[in-house]
Amino acid sequence: MSILTVENLYKNYGSVQALKNVSFSVPSGSVFGILGPNGSGKTTLLGIVMDVLKATKGSFKLLDSTPTADQRKKIGTLLETPNFYHYLSAQRNLEIAAAIKGQDENDILRVLEIVNLTQRKDSKFNTYSLGMKQRLAIASCLLGDPHVMVFDEPTNGLDPVGIAEIRELIKKLYHQGKTIIMASHLLDEVEKVCTHVAILKKGELIASGDVNEILANEDIVETGSDDNEKLLLILKLLNNYSNIKEAGNLLQLFFPVGTANLEEINRHCFNNGVVLNHLHLKKKSLEDKFFELTNN
């Protein structure tokens, strides 16, 4: 079953095209990352799915059927910013959210505990720090333990500990079989938790699917010696690499994921009379891949 299916979505803000013919589908039980630089249309896309924005053209489906307001009650969503009544406490704000979602108020203490806000539950929202506001918004998403969650930049404003906690939380939710749709410009975040990914660039979908297919990584082996010219000639004798590049005073060898063998490279160089002073296996980061995808 598909949790969300987006079909040929367009959105214009005046003359600005925020979304151009975007189509993809989010499979059940996935952690689906929507990636893209600032202004690429991530929030616009999620806003349309949540009915706070109206699409110019195109449609979408939730759980394989025409979307309704009641379906949104079963989806925990954090869109763009934490939106709460500034003059009410966290507790009161969550009472409103729970009432709208049709969830039991008894769940409020549980979700506040998860995001470590129990101590401050009676403080007014406008006394909260940015990170606390963000955590309260995540708590609100967790009300009623929904099967589907939508997080738009979930780690915004959080400190490093908070970021790690949210990442752990998302992983835990994933292992519980929940579907999570997450928009982010933080690739690290997506790389660490997502199973599927859609990449947006200036409103256009440039890729979507299994994270391992879309972001097929490469192993990079960095090598260095006193005589890089000789090293280059010798490395070229190796036959299983896909590419070789000079990077500063190092040489980079590219291998398909999991095929780089450092021992073999080291032995090969030594046997051919070059002693390496640098040998390092580097995973090609998603960041590199992302720049590659979004820059051309």
Partner: protein
């Protein structure tokens, strides 16, 4: 709907400004009417002829008319309450969150319209009680004659609150909405009304300007004093005013709902 109103209550309950405005409104209604009552008492005592001119505005059945007339000057306060209630949502972006959490746009806007209805009903009820209070103080015998002015007050209150709702939905920002609401209800419409009534160089008290949105409902409750002396001109027919009020209310409703259901939030 009751469940939705319960949620609206959660929003209002903790909002201090709302309660300050409520208190201000209630106190002002009593205060303003008491002020007029005092002046009238003073005039009657000083000059017996004044009674002949002014009549007995605080005796039954005139008290319904007098109290609703003066109280209606304070209807901008319930209007303010509606504006803050709606523009708060826009500035906190909670209108978005309510929709995201599972309200339909239809539900959101209709809860606000219900709030308009309830605030108008409660204001009217309070004015009803105030009329009884002053009628009793004046010492006349209770009578339901002319109680229709209470009904007119309700229509007038709906009209101010619905206009406030419409402006908030269209403008979204609180300062600007409040500014425009005051400017329109106190200044623009009066100028426009005078211009319309004096068209063609003929000075008239009644004319097309009487049928502007707020004037229409204001004219349901005309100036209550000096009615014994002269009728300067024929006032607009109540039935036409009521019909037109209904039309304006429908327009406020229709545009607000349409706008909220189709715009980007």
């Amino acid at each position: 709907m009751l469940h939705l109103l319960k949620i609206e209550w959660l929003k209002i309950k903790g909002y201090k400004t709302f309660w300050v405005l409520t208190t201000l409104f209630l106190v002002s209604i009593i205060g303003l009417n008491y002020f007029v009552f005092n002046i009238k008492q003073g005039l009657s005592q000083a000059n017996a002829q004044a009674n002949a001119v002014i009549g007995h505005p605080f005796d039954y059945p005139n008290v319904w008319h007098t109290i609703t007339y003066f109280s209606s000057f304070l209807l901008f306060i319930p209007g303010l309450m509606i504006i803050t209630s709606i523009t708060n949502e826009y500035s906190f972006k909670t209108h978005r969150q309510n929709i995201i959490d599972g309200w339909s746009r239809h539900q959101f806007i209709h809860v606000k319209i219900m709030l308009v209805l309830i605030i108008s009903l409660l204001s009217t009820f309070f004015v009803f009680l105030t009329s009884i209070l002053f009628g009793t103080i004046a010492g006349s015998t209770f009578s339901f004659v002319k109680v229709e002015f209470i009904g007119y007050f309700f229509v007038q209150s709906l009209s101010y609150c619905m206009l406030a709702l419409l402006l908030s939905i269209l403008i979204k920002r609180s300062g600007l909405s409040i500014g425009l609401f005051f400017l329109y209800s106190f200044i623009i419409e009066n100028i426009l009304g005078a211009v319309l009534n004096n068209m063609g160089g003929v000075r008239k008290i009644n004319g097309p300007g009487d049928y502007l949105p707020l004037n229409t409902t204001d004219n349901l409750i005309p100036f209550p004093f000096f009615r014994n002396i002269i009728q300067l001109s024929t006032p607009p027919s109540v039935y036409i005013l009521l019909g037109l009020s209904a039309l304006y209310l429908f327009l406020y409703y229709f545009i607000s709902v349409k706008r909220f259901q189709t715009q980007d939030l």
